[in-house]
C-alpha cells in the first residue's frame, strides 16, 4: 500500500491533487488503506469524512506563498518500508559497514497452494505410486497399436521398458528423502571365560653389598679355581679325595673354631697377665742407673704344665723363626727315677697352656730345633733313641725314630744338634751319648740312617781303651766341621768331622763331668764350659788353659752366651740362682746373682737366651720354666763417645773380646 501511496503522491507536478492544495488532509479509503504515519501524518490521524473540509484545530497556518509551493513527488520502485540504513558487521574490516543494496521486495499477497510441478521429485513420486496402473493402461493401449506398428511399438516398448527400468532404477536410489535403513542382529554367542593359574615361580629376595674387598675376594676365588683347574688338567683327579673332603665338611662345626679359639685364648691370657705383658715390652729397671755394675732380672711369665709336674726340665731351645716359641724337653736326670718324658712347646703369648705337647715313653734329655725348618725337632732320649718330630703333622708320634736295629745309642743321648743339609738335601743331625759315640743321622725319605762320626775313648786316640762318655757338644758357628765334645771325665775334645780317628785337641777342663760346652756367638776362638765341680771356665781354643775361671759355689747346671754381646753370659746353679756375667764390665764377678725360684731346693737345670727379646728362660727340676727380663745393665753396650759413631755388629763384639783376651795374654807373655 505504500506503493500505492507513493504512486498517488508522486505524480507529475502538473497534476495537483484535489484537496491537497492549501490544506493537507489525509483521506482514507474504505479499502483498508493503512495509515502512513511515517510519511506525513502528524499527530492526530482521525478518521474524517472525505468531503467536508474541517479544519483541524492544530493545523499549521501557512502563508499563501507557502501554500502555493509545489512539492515534487517521484515514483520509484523503492520499498518505502525497507530500511535504508542496514549495517552489517564486516569481519574483514572489523567494523560495521552499511549495506549498499537492501532488499526492496515487498510482498503484498501470499497464498499457499497444492500444485506441483510435474518434473519435481514429489510429483514423480506421486506419479510412481499411480504410475503402475497408468502404465498398464498405456501398455494395453500400446499393444493394440503394436499390431499395427510393430517397430514403433517396439520402440515405445523399449522406451517404456526403459522408463520402467528407469523407474525401477529410480526406486533404488537412496537419498536423504527416501532412505530406509535395514538392520538385522545375529545371534550373540554366549560368552565364557576360562582362566588357569600357574604356580608362581619361587621367589627369594637377595641383597648384598659390593665393597672393594668383596670384589677382591671374588677375584681371589676365581684365581684359585683357575689354579685348581690347571692342576687337575695336569694330574689325574682322584675321586677319593673328593669324598674325603665331603666328609670333612659334614663333621662337627666346632673344628673350624679351633684357630679362632686359639686367638681368643691368647687374648684372654694377655688380659689376665696384662701387667706381665706390659713389663715384658716396656719395663726397664730405672734403678739400674744408680747401680753401676749390677743388674737385675725381672720375673715374667711362668710356664708349667699339669702333666709334667714331676718331671724336670732337661732341655730348652728357642725357635729361630718364631721368636716367641720355645721347646722344653722334660725328663729326669735321676738315674733311679726313670719314666716317661714329654716334649712341650710354649709360646710367650700363652703361658697357661702349651702350644704343642708330645708325650714320650722315655725321658727326653736334649732337643734341637732345625734353624731353617722350624717344624723339625730332633730329640734325644734317655734310652738312647733319637727321634725327629714334625710339628706340622697332627700325630703325637715322631716322624722318625731310631731303633735298636738302626744304630741307636746304648746310653742316654746327651746332646743333639742339627747340621746343614748335606749334598743330597737331606737333613741331618748329630748326637752324642754316654756310649762314647758321636753319630750323624741323616733323614732319608722315611728312615734315619746313622753314621758313626767318631768314637771317644779315655786315652787320646780312638778305639783304644775304654770308651769315654760324651755329655755335651757344640759345633762352631762359622767353621762347620769343627766341634767340641765334653766328656764325663771332665775333658773337652776338639774334633773335626773330617778326621774320625783323632782329636784335634784335648783340654783338661774339669774335675767332674762337663755339663755344657758352648762356642762364643761372635768370637771364633772362645768357648765356655761348665761342670758340676762348681766352676765355669772360658777358653781360647788355641790355648790349653782356660782364660777365665769362675767359681759359683754350687753345681752349675748350664751356661749360655748372650746373642747380643760377646762378653755376656749366664749360668744357672743347683741352688736356684742365675748368675749373669759381663766380662766387659766386671771380669771377676757376676754383675747379677739372683735366686729365681721360690724354694731353694729346686735346682735350675737349663738356661737359654731369647735371640731377639731381652729375656731368658730358665728351667728347673720341678718342671717349671720361668722367664725373666734382663735389666738394662745386663745388656749394656759400649758407650758412645761424643761425635763418634760406634759401629754395631759382630765385629765390635769380636773386638771387645779380643781386647779382653789380649789383656790377659800380655801378662802371661810378660810372665813368660
Amino acid at each position: 500500500d505504500s506503493v500505492k501511496d507513493s504512486r498517488r503522491r508522486s505524480r507529475a507536478t502538473e497534476s495537483s491533487w484535489p484537496g491537497r492544495q492549501g490544506n493537507q488532509y489525509t483521506i482514507r479509503g474504505v479499502g483498508g488503506d493503512e495509515d502512513d504515519g511515517t510519511e506525513i501524518g502528524e499527530g492526530g490521524d482521525e478518521w474524517m469524512h472525505g468531503k467536508t473540509l474541517i479544519k483541524p484545530p492544530d493545523q499549521l497556518d501557512l502563508t499563501e506563498a507557502e501554500l502555493k509551493e509545489e512539492f515534487t513527488r517521484i515514483l520509484t520502485a523503492n520499498n518505502p518500508h525497507a530500511p535504508q540504513n542496514i549495517v552489517r558487521y564486516s569481519f574483514k574490516e572489523r567494523s560495521y559497514k552499511p549495506i549498499s543494496s537492501v532488499d526492496q521486495l515487498a510482498v503484498h499477497f501470499f497464498l499457499e497452494g497444492n500444485l506441483l510441478h510435474r518434473d519435481s521429485d514429489e510429483a514423480r513420486r506421486q506419479k510412481a505410486k499411480q504410475g503402475l496402473p497408468d502404465e498398464k493402461a498405456t501398455v494395453v493401449t500400446e499393444t493394440e497399436d503394436e499390431k499395427l506398428e510393430t517397430p514403433a511399438a517396439g520402440g515405445e516398448e523399449a522406451g517404456d521398458v526403459e522408463e520402467g527400468g528407469g523407474e525401477d532404477g529410480e526406486q533404488k536410489l537412496t537419498n536423504q528423502f527416501n532412505f530406509s535403513e535395514r538392520a538385522s542382529q545375529t545371534l550373540n554367542n554366549p560368552l565364557r571365560e576360562r582362566g588357569c593359574q600357574t604356580e608362581p615361580p619361587p621367589r627369594a629376595s637377595f641383597s648384598a653389598t659390593a665393597n672393594q674387598w668383596e670384589i677382591y675376594d671374588v677375584y681371589l676365588e676365581e684365581m684359585q679355581k683357575q689354579e685348581k683347574n690347571k692342576e687337575k688338567a695336569k694330574a689325574v683327579p682322584k675321586k677319593e679325595d673328593d669324598k674325603g673332603k665331603k666328609k670333612l665338611t659334614l663333621s662337627d662345626d666346632l673344628t673350624k673354631v679351633a684357630k679362632v679359639a686359639k686367638i681368643i685364648e691368647r687374648m684372654v691370657n694377655q688380659n689376665t697377665f696384662d701387667d706381665i705383658a706390659q713389663d715384658f715390652r716396656y719395663f726397664e729397671d730405672a734403678s739400674d742407673e744408680f747401680r753401676e755394675q749390677e743388674g737385675t732380672l725381672l720375673p715374667l711369665w711362668k710356664f708349667q704344665y699339669d702333666q709334667a709336674k714331676r718331671l724336670s726340665v732337661t732341655a730348652l731351645c728357642w725357635n729361630q723363626s718364631y721368636k716367641d716359641l720355645f721347646a722344653v724337653g722334660l725328663g729326669s736326670y735321676d738315674f733311679t727315677k726313670q719314666g716317661r718324658g714329654m716334649l712341650v712347646f710354649y709360646s710367650l703369648k700363652n703361658s697357661t697352656y702349651p702350644e704343642y705337647n708330645y708325650p714320650t715313653t722315655s725321658g727326653i734329655l736334649c732337643l734341637d730345633i732345625h734353624p731353617d725348618r722350624p717344624y723339625l725337632v730332633a730329640v734325644g732320649f734317655y734310652d738312647g733313641c733319637v727321634a725327629v718330630y714334625n710339628l706340622k703333622e697332627e700325630r703325637p708320634e715322631p716322624v722318625y725314630k731310631s731303633s735298636s736295629k738302626s744304630g741307636k745309642h746304648t746310653d742316654p743321648v746327651w746332646q743333639v744338634r742339627w747340621q746343614k743339609d748335606d749334598m743330597d738335601n737331606h737333613q741331618n743331625f748329630f748326637s752324642v751319648s754316654s756310649d762314647g759315640r758321636v753319630v750323624s743321622w741323616t733323614l732319608v725319605k722315611s728312615e734315619l740312617v746313622f753314621t758313626d762320626i767318631i768314637k771317644l775313648s779315655l786315652v787320646g786316640a780312638v778305639s783304644e781303651g775304654p770308651e769315654a762318655c760324651g755329655t755335651s757338644f757344640d759345633f762352631h758357628k762359622q767353621i762347620n766341621y769343627l766341634f767340641l765334645v765334653g766328656t764325663e771325665e771332665g775333658k773337652i775334645h776338639k774334633c773335626s768331622k773330617a778326621y774320625s780317628s783323632q782329636f784335634l785337641e784335648t783340654y783338661d777342663a774339669h774335675n767332674m763331668a762337663v755339663d755344657a760346652v758352648k762356642w762364643n756367638q761372635f768370637h771364633p776362638k772362645v768357648f765356655i764350659s761348665c761342670s758340676s765341680d762348681w766352676t765355669v771356665k772360658i777358653w781360647d781354643h788355641t790355648i790349653r788353659t782356660p782364660v777365665f775361671i769362675f767359681d759359683l759355689n754350687a753345681a752349675v747346671g748350664d751356661v749360655a752366651w748372650s746373642p747380643y754381646s760377646s762378653t755376656v753370659f749366664a749360668a744357672v746353679t743347683a741352688d736356684g740362682k742365675v748368675h749373669v756375667f759381663d766380662l766387659g764390665i766386671n771380669k771377676y764377678e757376676a754383675i747379677c746373682q739372683q735366686p729365681v725360684v721360690a724354694k731353694k731346693k729346686t735346682k735350675l737345670t737349663h738356661i737359654e737366651f731369647n735371640p731377639v727379646y731381652p729375656i731368658i728362660i730358665v728351667g728347673d727340676d720341678r718342671g717349671y720354666v720361668t722367664s725373666l727380663k734382663l735389666s738394662p745393665n745386663l745388656r749394656s753396650k759400649p758407650k758412645e763417645k761424643k761425635g763418634q759413631e760406634l759401629p754395631r755388629g759382630p765385629e765390635v763384639e769380636i773386638a771387645k773380646m779380643e781386647k779382653l783376651l789380649s789383656l790377659l795374654r800380655e801378662p802371661e807373655n810378660s810372665k813368660a
Binding site: 666346632l254 673350624k256 673354631v257 689376665t272
Partner: protein
C-alpha cells in the same frame, strides 16, 4: 674337636672370664655359656659391630683382614676373634 672343647674350657676357667659365645656367619649363636637372653643380645649387637669393623679394615686395603677386636668398657672387656665362618666372643673382667 676335643681340642677345641678343651681350649674353650681353659678359657672359661681363666680368671675374670664371664662368658663365651660362638656365633656363626649369620649371627646366630651356636654355643654359649651365658643365659639365653644375654647371648642373643650380645650376638646380635656384636655381629653388626664386627661386620662394620671388618668392612672398614678391608675397604682400606682389601688384602688386609681383621684379626681380632677388643672393646674395653668400664666394667669389662669384650674380645672378639672373627673367622671366615664363625666368630668367638669372650667377655672378661680383667681386674678380677
Amino acid at each position: 674337636m676335643a681340642e677345641v672343647e678343651e681350649t674353650l674350657k681353659r678359657i672359661q676357667s681363666q680368671k675374670g672370664v664371664q662368658g663365651i659365645i660362638i656365633v656363626n656367619a649369620e649371627g646366630i649363636p651356636i654355643k654359649t655359656t651365658l643365659d639365653n637372653s644375654s647371648t642373643v643380645q650380645y650376638a646380635g649387637l656384636i655381629h653388626q659391630s664386627v661386620m662394620k669393623a671388618r668392612s672398614t679394615v678391608r675397604d682400606i686395603d682389601p688384602q688386609n683382614d681383621l684379626t681380632f677386636l677388643r672393646i674395653r668398657s668400664k666394667k669389662n672387656e669384650i674380645m672378639i676373634a672373627p673367622d671366615k665362618d664363625y666368630f668367638l666372643i669372650v667377655i672378661q673382667n680383667p681386674s678380677d
